[in-house]
């Protein structure tokens, strides 16, 4: 009776992927942007990243100890959360801020829901949203001028990040009657100069959060992850495509279809959010259509916040809001089984 068939339920062929393997690939993909952050914003950026990652690891270990779950901090998921949170912070934050943010993100964003795999929203973004709501002064003031660049990316304006300049100029142009002629002229000039900032935006020589400024370094990591098939093309491309389309239609100052799509794609945290945060496996839909809708939804909310909302940037809130729709998107976009109705 030894030579019986083994009867077991499917799946019979298993992939060799594991959580640590995926997480460490993501960490590797995030390294170029981190090196860029240290190059552009100085050694303080490295301290912020290290502090955030360590706080995330310690918070995770404490939670798992208290909840009597196996301690799995070596799987890399807390490191990814820490790095992503650090990339969403300005370089000059006080050092206690990332500690509180990482603790909040891990505890409220992840541990209370049951740990990795059960969190409805991206823990790093929960941490960022908490810091943003609690200490807006530290989170929205960017003073560190990047190496060989300017805060705005435009040589004439040196005081604010690209999206802040955009928001301010747009506000002036919409209510032009209540501002002086000089201000309106300056705003029009600023709007027309955004095309000169493409290079700075692409290489990262602009002000902003640590890891979001350099599109080139982020794309390097994204290509690596796509090659490894850890992230798909559907969410990032539908997300960025929607932002490009809507900002081309609505963000211009000469009526519809005059907006600067490339500026909106390259500025702010869009590249970082679309490739590294919206694609988080736990908090994004699993179906084909669901992912497309998820990306489009993120894009719509981002553009709405950027153009008409109270904040200059809306990537983090758009991803958090769309995270909440994932169970519904998955339910409504479930593909028909072959032969089913």
């Amino acid at each position: 009776m030894d030579k019986n068939f083994y009867v077991s339920p499917s799946p019979h062929i298993k992939d060799r992927d594991s959580i640590p393997k995926i997480m460490y690939s993501v960490i590797l993909a995030l390294v170029p942007a981190g090196v860029g952050a240290v190059y552009f914003f100085g050694i303080r950026a490295l301290y912020v990243i290290i502090i955030t990652v360590l706080s995330a690891l310690v918070s995770e270990a404490i939670c798992q100890k208290i909840m009597k779950r196996p301690v799995t901090i070596t799987d890399g998921s807390a490191i990814v959360t820490g790095i992503l949170l650090a990339y969403n912070l300005p370089a000059e934050v006080p050092f206690w801020l990332p500690v509180v943010g990482a603790f909040f993100g891990i505890v409220i964003g992840k541990a209370v829901f049951g740990g990795l795999g059960f969190n409805p929203m991206n823990p790093a973004l929960i941490g960022r949203a908490f810091l943003m709501a609690s200490w807006p002064v530290y989170m929205t003031v960017f003073n560190t001028v990047p190496k060989n660049g300017t805060l705005s990316g435009i040589s004439a304006i040196t005081s604010a990040t690209p999206l802040n300049v955009f928001k301010h100029a747009r506000e002036i142009l919409i209510n032009s009657s209540s501002f002086s002629t000089q201000q309106v002229t300056e705003a029009t000039n600023a709007m027309s100069q955004f095309s000169s900032s493409y290079g700075s935006l692409f290489w990262g020589k602009v002000g902003g959060c640590l890891g979001e400024t350099s599109a080139a370094l982020l794309l390097l990591g994204a290509v690596f992850l796509m090659y490894k098939r850890i992230i798909g093309w559907k969410i990032p491309f539908s997300y960025i495509g929607t932002v490009a389309l809507l900002s081309w239609i609505f963000s211009g100052n000469d009526g519809l279809f005059s907006g600067d799509a490339l500026f909106h794609v390259l500025s702010g945290g869009l590249i970082l959010g679309a490739f590294f945060m919206a694609t988080d496996m736990v908090t994004s839909p699993i179906t084909f259509k669901g992912r497309i809708f998820f990306g489009i939804g993120c894009g719509i909310i981002t553009v709405i916040i950027r153009l008409w909302g109270g904040y200059p940037e809306g990537v983090s809130y758009s991803i958090l809001l769309m995270n909440l729709t994932v169970p519904l998107l998955d339910k409504f976009s479930r593909p028909k089984t072959f032969g089913g109705k």
Binding site: V100, F130, S134
Partner: protein, 200 residues
């Protein structure tokens, strides 16, 4: 039926906020400072005791089909009294509690106790029940607002708790802070219950 049991059930074992999940709306809204919590708790306790008393008095001859409108009328009478007294004697508190004083009329705790307890029990025990529930509600509000005010504003009852280097987390006195605090307190109480039931 024992007096102490009826009094203490509202404070711990069936606390209106943490156990019955009643009256969460004013709880979320007014617990941003301990001062508001005490004001709200006092007002609700007065209405609770008075309405329990009157509802219990008239319970024999209120037709059951129209009992809800009758109870609401009774409750609204006492809420009006509280509203006017507060506006007259504590105008600042009245201003900061705002619409939530008139809204005590539709507070689930008060109608819930009238319906579930006062309409079935005698006057004395209804008074005791109202007092217990009122104290339980007030204590719950003070507990929640203590966490929120200390973390979100760095003060307790208006007095600074930390030195000036403490930067309060604004989120805790905004609406999400109330949800987080209530959630963690309920989780703690459930954990306590499970622990005591396992050991006994």
């Amino acid at each position: 039926m024992k007096v102490t049991q009826e009094l203490f059930k509202g404070i711990y074992s069936s606390n209106p906020v943490f156990r019955l999940m009643l009256g969460l709306c004013p709880t979320l809204a007014v617990t941003s400072s301990v001062n508001n919590a005490i004001g709200m708790g006092g007002a609700a306790t007065f209405v609770l005791i008075s309405s329990n008393f009157v509802v219990s008095l008239i319970r024999k001859f209120v037709p059951s089909k129209i009992r809800i409108p009758v109870y609401i009328t009774v409750i609204a009478t006492f809420v009006t009294i509280v509203d006017l007294i507060m506006a007259g004697f504590f105008p600042d508190l009245h201003k900061s509690l705002g619409i939530f004083i008139p809204l005590i009329v539709v507070n689930c705790i008060i109608l819930g106790r009238a319906e579930a307890f006062a309409s079935k029990n005698n006057v004395f025990f209804s008074l005791i029940d109202g007092l217990g529930m009122g104290i339980g509600f007030t204590l719950a509000l003070i507990t929640i607002s203590t966490f929120r005010e200390i973390l979100g504003n760095g003060t307790w009852l208006g007095m600074p708790v930390f030195g000036s280097s403490f930067k309060p987390a604004l989120l805790m006195i905004l609406n999400p802070g109330a949800f987080f605090t209530i959630g963690f307190i309920i989780a703690f109480l459930n954990w306590l219950d499970r622990k005591t039931s396992v050991s006994s």
